[in-house]
């Protein structure tokens, strides 16, 4: 076995893991772009996610939010096939059907910190690459913390 070190994008590309039907059948999950949501003056965190043509990926595939709370995603399908998104949400997951060349919106409430995944639950879109992450940073409120001195973290 040989292992490589260095630029991860280059490694993934050279290994044929960053696209459709190269080394693998689909695209390795978690290999897309990283994006950051913007928090509006109303406290809602907004971002846009697109599905590019023939890539079977949500772009960005990793969306970072500063903390848990109200989220508004604009979802755009630029592909020439139909997809959808089933998204985590407190109360019940939400689903939106995205026909070719369509645009919609998802309003979500999610707690943080923590990571949630969502996907296009049609065909095997999720396995091919249409699985993406919503990552919430921040800390829990002080009232939820343990009464003890600060502890070391990894």
């Amino acid at each position: 076995m040989t292992a490589t070190a260095g630029d991860r994008d280059t490694q993934l590309h050279e290994a044929g893991l960053d696209g459709q039907n190269r080394t693998a059948l689909g695209r390795l999950l978690g290999t897309g772009n990283v994006g950051h949501a913007e928090e509006g003056s109303d406290g809602v965190m907004r971002a846009t996610v697109r599905i590019p043509e023939d890539e079977l990926i949500f772009d960005p595939s990793i969306l970072v939010f500063p903390h848990g709370g109200e989220v508004e995603l604009t979802l755009i399908n630029d592909d020439k096939n139909t997809h959808c998104a089933v998204l985590p949400n407190n109360g019940d997951p939400k689903i939106i059907w995205l026909v070719n060349h369509s645009k919609g919106i998802a309003r979500l409430n999610l707690g943080g910190p923590g990571t949630y995944y969502y996907g296009s639950t049609t065909g095997n879109d999720e396995g091919r690459g249409l699985t993406a992450a919503l990552v919430f940073g921040g800390e829990v409120p002080d009232s939820a913390k343990i009464d003890r001195p600060p502890q070391p973290r990894p």
Partner: protein, 562 residues
């Protein structure tokens, strides 16, 4: 290119289902009613059925004579889809509650349903979103809900206490109560007492400082927090190193619902293992209040007394499991506790005095406890890198799954696990959110078995046992029909004769049992409900069945209608 097609707005998944969206109104479940839950056996109002934890119902329509005709009335499939936290470890561990024909049951992954208890029709659902990366020491599980004050209460994997409207499932409040960055989580079924909702911490393998909390049932405001590891200078702190940091991450979590005595106004809470589990060198002393029963004043959160079952634990012998309250024939108020360490304890629940202790498993090698309660450790991982085998293993002679008492026989029916383990001490530094065991542990893949033991708590005598090829990993239930119900790890749900242990009936549910069955009646027809779905911390309690079929179905049984 033309303008985009308008895809509209994402809608809740449940709108694309047959879920009705509301449940019929029921009469209010308040403190008085829960105190008298035994008087309305048609309902299962609280986690153990009654505050005393006896898990007994007086319902007797299904009995020893007719149980052979017991058949499925309906099945509810919880379902599982997509990536979710603890995907490999989800387990349906709940105990269904029933109020006037409406069942409230929680599943793994933050799910909660109201179901028609006669037909299985889904009335409403709620799913709390659980982060994929929340630290779960022992599975993607939830042990149940509390119902009362017009609400349903759930403690979520990411340690939120949420309250829902019991009729609609709409969110009433959501309070963050634990630090997921510290490895804290929530799995316990809440308990309603007076105007309070009680929950405790999960995360025993992550070096927390355990706690039990009471919240205002209407507003979600925390009324008190009881830490189960004392700070320096507090009572019990002398059992921790006075020059170290061990107490700050000492463990003693409260991940199983307490029982409660309304006359004494005391909660009986079992506490979890110390941290690190197996490396006692970093925490010399008895390490109070780990591995204990603590009697907590429900009004103030103060600890009134404690009894520690395994001082300075080196085997991961949590004592979180239930404390069953019962009275002796002379009226003495007693408490029964079958500990992971393989010994069965009977205490005076007014003061914590030891009444009786005796072994309830066949193989105990870790140490010995004399009849007067003296504890002598014998085998433990004290040398770095040297494997040590001991019985019972870290899942214990009895895990969290509950025993049941029958006032008809005076016996307690205990699900017993006979599984050993090998631990090799490996010291490590503490870091928040990283498992803090202090050892490598391998639980035995073979040489295991189990049984249901019928034990007289007044004498310690085992009246009978029903032996099973595999350890028993689910809760027992006793009924007025003279039956003891028990699920097996291989999927059978069995009914035993309370007097003899004879197996009278069984049904193969298709996946192992790791839950707490309950019983109820509607319009004069008795039902028995049991969630099935093999999972949780299998590598700890029965790794020999790590490859067994998963599942997530709730089975409900009844006698055929005439």
């Amino acid at each position: 290119m033309t303008d985009y097609v308008d895809a509209g707005e994402a809608v809740p998944h449940k709108t694309l289902s047959a879920t009705k969206g509301s449940a019929p109104a029921t009469s209010d479940v308040n403190y008085e009613r829960i105190q008298n839950a035994r008087s309305e056996p048609e309902n299962w109002l609280t986690y153990y059925g009654t505050y005393d934890g006896q898990r007994h119902s007086a319902l007797d329509q299904i009995n020893r004579e007719n149980v052979k005709r017991l058949s499925p009335a309906w099945v509810f499939q919880a379902g599982s889809a997509g990536l979710h936290s603890g995907a490999s470890t989800y387990s349906f561990e709940s105990s269904p509650l029933v109020v006037e024909g409406v069942m409230y049951v929680s599943g793994p992954e933050g799910k909660l349903w109201a179901i028609d208890a006669t037909t299985g029709e889904e009335l409403w659902r709620y799913k709390h979103a659980s982060p994929y990366d929340v630290s779960l020491c022992c599975g993607n599980v939830n042990r149940g809900v509390a119902v009362g004050h017009g609400k349903v209460y759930l403690y979520t994997l990411n340690a939120h206490l949420i309250a829902l409207d019991a009729q609609t499932g709409d969110l009433v409040f959501d309070v963050v109560n634990g630090d997921v960055r510290a490895g804290e989580s929530g799995t316990v079924a809440p308990l309603i007492v007076k105007d309070k909702v009680i929950v405790g911490s999960s995360g025993g393998e992550f070096g927390l400082r355990g706690h039990l909390d009471a919240f205002d049932a209407q507003t979600g405001e925390r009324q008190w927090r009881c830490y189960t590891i004392p700070k320096p200078g507090e009572p019990g702190s002398e059992t921790w190193p006075d020059d170290g940091e061990a107490w700050q991450r000492g463990g003693a979590n409260c991940w199983v619902t307490p029982t409660y005595d309304p006359e004494l106004e005391l909660l009986y809470q079992g506490t979890g293992n110390p941290a690190p589990d197996f490396d006692g060198g970093v925490r010399p002393g008895d390490n109070l209040y780990t591995d204990s029963t603590i009697a907590v004043d429900v009004n103030t959160g103060e600890i009134r007394w404690h009894y520690q079952f395994t001082p300075h634990d080196l085997w991961d012998y949590d004592s979180t499991m239930e404390n069953v309250l019962f009275d002796a024939p002379d009226g003495r108020k007693l408490l029964a506790h079958a500990d992971k360490n393989g010994y069965f304890f009977v205490l005076d629940r007014t003061n914590g005095e030891l009444v009786r202790v005796f072994p309830f498993v066949d193989r105990i090698t870790w140490g010995e406890i004399t009849p007067d309660g003296k504890v002598t450790p014998k085998v433990y991982p004290d040398e770095e890198g040297v494997p040590v085998h001991f019985w019972p293993g870290p899942a214990g002679g009895k895990e969290w799954t509950h025993m049941a008492y029958s006032p008809r026989t005076g016996l307690i029916y205990v699900p017993v696990q006979e599984v050993g383990a090998t631990a090799t001490r490996r010291r490590r530094e503490f870091k928040e959110s990283i498992p803090y065991w202090g050892a490598g542990v391998a639980v035995d893949l073979d040489d295991h078995y189990g049984f249901v033991a019928a034990i007289d708590p007044l004498t310690g005598e085992e009246k009978w046992r029903w032996r099973n090829e595999y350890p028993m990993c689910s809760s027992t239930l006793t009924t007025g029909g003279g039956l003891v119900f028990q699920g097996t790890p291989t999927g059978e749900f069995v009914a035993l004769d309370e007097e003899t242990g004879e197996k009278l009936w069984s049904f193969q549910c298709g996946s192992g049992h790791h839950s707490s069955p309950s019983t109820y009646s509607v319009d004069g027809r008795q039902y028995v409900a049991v969630p099935t779905g093999w999972g949780g911390w299998i590598e700890g309690f029965l790794p020999g069945l790590l490859g067994a079929a998963a599942g997530d179905a709730l089975f409900v049984f009844a006698l055929p209608e005439a």
